[in-house]
Symmetry: C2
Subunit: 209 residues, 2 copies
Amino acid sequence: MSSSLIHVGIVEDNDEIRQTLALIIDGTPGYSCKMVFSNAEAAVEALRNSYVNVVLMDIELPGMTGIEAVKQLKPVAPDMDFLMLTIRQDDEAIFNSICAGATGYLVKDTPPTALLQAIQEVADGGAPMSTSIARKVIRSFHATTPSPLSSRETEILKLLCDGLNYRSIAQQLFLSAHTVKSHIKNIYKKLHVNSRAEAVGKALKDKLI
Amino acid sequence: MSSSLIHVGIVEDNDEIRQTLALIIDGTPGYSCKMVFSNAEAAVEALRNSYVNVVLMDIELPGMTGIEAVKQLKPVAPDMDFLMLTIRQDDEAIFNSICAGATGYLVKDTPPTALLQAIQEVADGGAPMSTSIARKVIRSFHATTPSPLSSRETEILKLLCDGLNYRSIAQQLFLSAHTVKSHIKNIYKKLHVNSRAEAVGKALKDKLI
DNA sequence: TCCAAAATCCCCCATCTGGGCGATAGCCCG
DNA sequence: CGGGCTATCGCCCAGATGGGGGATTTTGGA
């Protein structure tokens, strides 16, 4: 990995910081920094069809925030990685950035060696982050509410998520369609919903399945 | 945090490793290790109603695996944290463990200092892990397929996930119910589904909304 | 041991849904 | 300029769905 050139982009409104970062990166063999922007709007426009591998993105920017920029760029450039730049470790903002599509973050006073290493790690498919951020990410993985459903109901809910109707579910579980309907009615009661779509929505959002 | 006693549990079938871990932990001030098991079944049974804070769980166990044990314990003891024990860093197994409810992992030859530090970090709400694991976790956060839906369709899909029917969606968006139906039909075509439930399931699983 | 919950099955019916088919108008890209 | 996509509105109808009842048996925990 370290043999190929890493193309880095920078989006940072503070002139000094931006130029310093660019100098460090472009001055190091193996790193190239041609795409530099002082606002998110210009960056989104120019980066969408670029060959840039890793973007250092300031979170606080005039106009569009860095988080919003990532949200727009990630879908159109899925292979582009984003490292957010922050003054200090702000767990909430960083977590939101990650939800938006960022891979990790850097605090702005990171020494050059660590900066370059973080970029390298990201390019190599890693995601450098503190343990507290990692925990936040993991937590949002897991179910927060304990499921009120019985195992049979959970089983049926899974099949609902696949779009099966009464009959198909009944066949799959060797039940009568009446029974399936009965279970689904109970699921609705317990989840406080009254349609398949809402049940599926709640099930997946609350990680009940 | 470091002032209160951390109750640690161990589940590990290798006698030597298990006893070594227990000795290290129980021999350190601030750490207590009373719950020690050589198989997952006994651990699940005893830990479900225990006061243990952090469990060191071997992944490979005779009978039930450590991953399965976490899957069973996490729902009934949501405040209990799990650190998986592995011989070497196996990204796939570790990722599966995290999906099952684990917070992090340790390689078995971790030196005592780092071991205790990792336990402390977990007890303090962190999630120690390598950058490559972190990346895997983050990746499963993001949409993998670019959405084929128009913005209007996405808007309607969101409302479908909330369980709204034609009329309610129409009112919310100031449209005729006919138009809503029309959009939904197009959504079905694009997502290759043919019911609300399936559309919602696909939307949330593929992170289209 | 006894009760509550779960799991199974059944009926009725108003309403919702999905599929088929069609129409007009705007917009962008080639 | 024409074709494709989107957005908007419309009608018909068979079949699925949700809500309202009720019933029995098994299971599991207190």
